[in-house]
Symmetry: C2
Subunit: 453 residues, 2 copies
């Protein structure tokens, strides 16, 4: 009998982790709902025809593929055996595991566009799977928490994302964070203005590293990648802007010759005004001209969230895309969305000790008993406590009190009710606070009142 093990890159979440993860999920879900987003769940298994070609060559390889069921090999021919692995795979596998929540969402919108009322606001909290090499902080199965609006290009949606991020992070107890914002159109415009039209991809890869490697090395990289010295000189204003919070006027004068850049600046400025209109207390948002997030996808605003007092990558990212469903033959649906990474948020809250102690999903009180009569007596009390909405349990076996209290301790149950012959006679039970050791003699009704406080 070999010892059982977890598949590489996967995890169990035991009770203690689940309590903490539930705190995160509940906070995110509640805030999404508060902003009018509706829940959606899609299956873990999708047809490979839906998934393939949506995440680039590398993504296709990182898809978990499922063997066809039944006698999948029966129809294979000699010729099939001799094909290369990729073609062979298509003969034995037609399904795969969800790789993100965006492509299944696009599929859902396309398949239900006749009945969906637009704009459609959905959130989705589900695991995704990637056959990445597992390493610290990178798993093969992990949750994504997405909220998207499609069917409108209103910038109110961008402003709402800023509001929602502030709401979620503050409800999680985070105070020192920055919502970084850029606009794809500004990046396009910069490339135009410096005479490197269409090169914004290369430009972004380089300026994305500004924080880490500094201005000189960024310029060196651009030269190496074929940018002219004139283009590099044209970037001067960018380095001056990079540290300012909302330098829209400076941007306008620098990029005055690019229509697309001006459009991007207009959009950004409108988002700032809308957030101001909401009356958000102490906005923690910052324009970041170096923010890119895999350009190919986004067409307008780009978001990323950084926690400032913890060494960790971004905990959230998103942006506007103008063609979510184009790949499924339905062009022209604009949308904007945000995705939150639960694993990183977990690590941040752990490091900052922000998880609340007292969660509603754990047991609040345990009944202990000295003998069978006490256990029998306790049943009615137990039923009463539960009917009052309290999470309660009774130690199931007839063991010494010490062992019962140890169990309560290990399970971090804050209160224990002691039932012995004296208690049964008087009807006054002993309520013990497991943290302070304090004991009180109370009726079951008084115990309920005390614990519900």
């Amino acid at each position: 009998m070999s010892k059982p093990s977890l598949a590489r890159g996967t995890r169990d979440f035991g009770p203690e982790q689940m309590v903490k993860r539930t705190f995160i999920f509940d906070t995110i879900r509640r805030t999404f709902q508060r902003f009018g987003f509706q829940p959606l769940e899609t299956p873990a298994i999708e047809n490979l025809s839906v998934l393939m070609g949506k995440y680039g060559e590398e993504g296709d390889q990182l898809l978990f593929k499922i063997l066809n069921s039944g006698d999948y090999a029966a129809k294979l021919t000699e010729a099939d055996w001799q094909q290369d692995a990729r073609q062979f795979t298509t003969k034995i596998s037609e399904k795969g595991l969800r790789y993100d929540l965006t492509v299944p969402f696009a599929r859902y919108v396309v398949m239900n566009r006749g009945t969906l009322s637009m704009p459609f606001k959905r959130y989705q909290l589900q695991p995704v799977w990637r056959a990445d090499r597992p390493q610290k902080g990178r798993y093969r199965e992990f949750y994504q928490c997405d909220a998207d609006v499609v069917g409108t290009s209103s910038l109110l949606c961008e402003a709402e994302i800023v509001m929602m991020l502030h709401g979620i992070l503050r409800e999680l107890g985070l105070t020192d964070f920055t919502v970084k914002i850029n606009n794809r159109k500004i990046l396009t415009g910069i490339a135009e203005v410096i005479g490197a039209q269409g090169q914004e991809g290369t430009l972004c890869v380089a300026i994305d590293k500004l924080d880490k490697i500094g201005k000189e090395k960024v310029l060196a990289e651009l030269i190496e990648r074929g940018f002219s010295p004139e283009s590099c000189a044209g970037l001067e204003p960018l380095f001056a802007l990079a540290s300012e919070q909302a330098p829209f006027a400076e941007l306008r004068s620098w990029l005055a010759t690019s229509d697309v850049a001006l459009k991007g600046i207009d959009e950004l400025e409108e988002v700032w005004q809308l957030v101001e209109g909401f009356g958000l207390e102490n906005p923690q948002m910052q324009f970041d001209v170096t923010l890119a997030r895999g350009l190919s996808y986004y067409t307008g605003a780009i978001f990323e969230v950084k926690v400032n007092n913890v060494q960790i990558g971004s905990i959230s990212g998103g942006g506007r895309y103008d063609n979510l469903t184009g790949t499924f033959g339905v062009p022209g649906l604009s949308g904007v969305g945000i995705s939150l990474g639960v694993d990183r948020i977990y690590d941040v809250l752990e490091e900052l000790s922000l998880f609340p102690d007292d969660q509603a999903i754990t047991t609040r009180v345990m009944l202990s008993h000295f003998d069978a009569a006490a256990a029998r007596y306790g049943l009615k009390v137990l039923h009463q406590l539960r009917q009052a909405g309290l999470n309660a349990e009774m130690y199931p076996d007839a063991v010494k009190l010490k062992k019962q209290l140890d169990y309560a301790d290990r399970k971090r149950i804050p209160y224990v009710v002691l039932i012995g012959s004296e208690e049964m006679q008087s009807g006054k039970l002993t309520l013990k606070n497991m943290q302070t050791g304090e004991q009180k003699s109370l009726t079951s009704e008084e115990i309920i009142a005390e614990l519900k406080r």
Copy 2:
């Protein structure tokens, strides 16, 4: 561009279904927690070495198997190609999808037995996957909701399962249900007493059909399967008992010569007494000597729940097993558990119109606006509503009021706030009840008070 589709046997759950499913999941989860069960989540992907051989030959075939990642075919030899499909599969697939929640739970207990405090009470609400042929009501991806206690043989656990089932079903609004109970030991004893020792499997398959085919046909089937006429005659008392609610005395006299049967009856009777001790109002439990549930697994109590006023199979089942983790080399851990089927519960609640209208996860109020100034004015109101904990949204685009109200209607938003120039001047907004059409002129504080009522 081909039209995208769902993989066979899988489903999307759109907002309306999600609201209803959430009602079911929340009710189950809350009740599990109220009884002191703690949450556990295990990965969707398990090593096939963990899954194979646990569900019988048929189960092995119904496991979804995942292709090894990377260049899985590179190391295959000519000899591998020529092996039969089953052996070939082991060369290209080492992982599979979770088939139920019990085997992963057993794996978790074995892997963490050094740190788990026993008895360990866990609940788990997660999807499972089976490569079954899809048909009405049978899916390839579906949720199970399990609660189990391991590490104790106390019959309090059985009684708690009865309590928990009553709690869940009544909170769901169900009134006419029956928790059927049997004990594996009684079935073993009956086979002993009628001289068909070890034949309880065949016996159960036959008497399981008593309801449908009647006594004569049950006996005919037993004769056909090799039971002697004497054995069949010995079954006479069973048919008399089958319709009684808790005929323990009759059982005792019939099965007096079988120790194991008497043990089973003692256990059952104790469960009945414990439930009585809890003071459960109007217990809906019934002894059912024909209840078997795939005997191989269970060693004590067996449960099943039937909804009486709906034509549907059982919505829940479970029982006690004495060797959960034996298959992973850790024998002797007794446990008892219950599993609820969300899809059938959904169908039952739908048929009986028991889903509540008003769920907390939907939008409570939408802000509409006549022009840009009104929209701008509405931002602060929107922020206020949300900060008061209300789910609120504003229609994002500048369109006619009619279109905004249509959106609210389709999304079943019960209240709309109308903002126009008059409203902005007076500070009194118009709150419209979308169901009655009634309109009130209120300040934003008054609106909050009204909607929170």
